[in-house]
Symmetry: C2
Subunit: 226 residues, 2 copies
């Protein structure tokens, strides 16, 4: 390409490459500190905060837990999470519909990592862009709630492709919705055969243990690799 | 600023300014063709497609209806909408989490506007970025479904600020959710005192007439201004 007189910048690819470099650095930091980071993603209102609160309640005696709360411009969840006993930092994305690696690293810097074992990033409620950005987490977990419908893997495939676990939430209200669990899981597994899936209600606690068991198993596997 | 040796580009502002210019042009085109364009926005799974299908069914004998179906990368809704009797074009946003004015104009060019009175854009399921982009529509309508929770105006304020109407959908399942209609509407109206709000179920049809009446009134008002 010696005769090329100008450069073509694929801006999005460049942004994502920069992001990936920061994310890789974040994982080095997390390894050094022995902190396991979970990137929790879903649509608005799928139950990220309720899931977090119940998870903190269940694991608080065995892990020192921190939470990065990401919101476009509010802090309605941060107080509830702090009340549950986790160390919390609220990140405002300034209009951005997703967290990237730099914003997440800034959030981590505002937590005392020497004093934590497990950190959750509660990402912005959005099934599209958060899937594109590696934030440096050790595992990506997505929640799909029953009221959203079983066709979502068809419409937002990347989220299901990149996640390690899909928690089908709000099964307590399944009787009033037309949601086909098998079809949903099958659609997701076509995209991602290794996806862990479970059915649960963060509100009632039904099925919640399977999620906790998966999470603790993943933390153990990660620690063994350290 | 004569001594300034370089320009600072506020990239996002520039993109939005370009977008607004295209949107203004689209509204001139729509006026010329006598076509009323509605930008329909919500989270994934709030009921945009079900609302559209029932709306088409109710208005099909009085308006010639077209639909621009926007999806990241699928066409699962387009067939259903075409079956309902509307002229449909499917737009793939190529990974983008929102429609902008140029993509919408492209969609309109693929519909026969001389043969239509009313076009709905079913935007990408997302409560964040679609609110930022004027697509050239005559009215912006958002759906918030009961399962998402009554706190959403606090967490995604721009969507509620820029919309002309908020349809609170899935009231048929309200008994199994803890949703405070009054608080939700109050939170939205603090952001946007002129917001039309209504409570309905696109599934059962309960409360649906208020939405149709509002829409027809807005179409009449727009036609009077032509």
């Amino acid at each position: 390409m010696a005769d090329k007189r100008y450069e073509i910048l694929e801006a999005k690819e460049a942004v994502l490459a920069d992001n990936d470099a920061v994310a890789a650095g974040t994982r080095v930091l997390l390894k050094e500190k022995g902190v396991f980071l979970v990137n929790l993603m879903s649509s608005p209102g799928s139950g990220k905060t309720t899931t977090l609160l119940r998870t903190i309640d269940a694991l608080n005696d065995r892990y020192r837990i921190g939470v990065i709360e990401a919101d476009v411009d509010s802090d309605v969840d941060a107080t509830a999470v702090a009340d549950a006993g986790a160390a919390v930092v609220q990140v405002h994305t300034g209009g951005s519909c997703h967290m990237d690696a730099s914003m997440t690293l800034e959030g981590l810097k505002h937590l005392d990592l020497d004093d934590l074992d497990l950190v959750f990033l509660e990402n912005v409620g959005n099934l599209v862009c958060p899937a594109e950005f590696d934030v440096g987490a050790n595992r990506k977990v997505m929640i799909l709630s029953v009221p959203e419908g079983d066709d979502k893997p068809l419409k937002y495939p990347l989220m299901f492709t990149v996640s390690d676990a899909m928690l089908i939430n709000k099964i307590d209200v399944a009787p009033v919705f037309d949601f086909d669990y098998d079809s949903c899981e099958q659609r997701a597994k076509v995209l991602n055969p290794n996806l862990f899936t479970t059915r649960m209600s963060s509100l009632t606690g039904e099925g919640f243990d399977a999620w906790l068991q998966w999470l603790e198993k993943e933390i153990c596997r990660w620690r063994e690799e350290l």
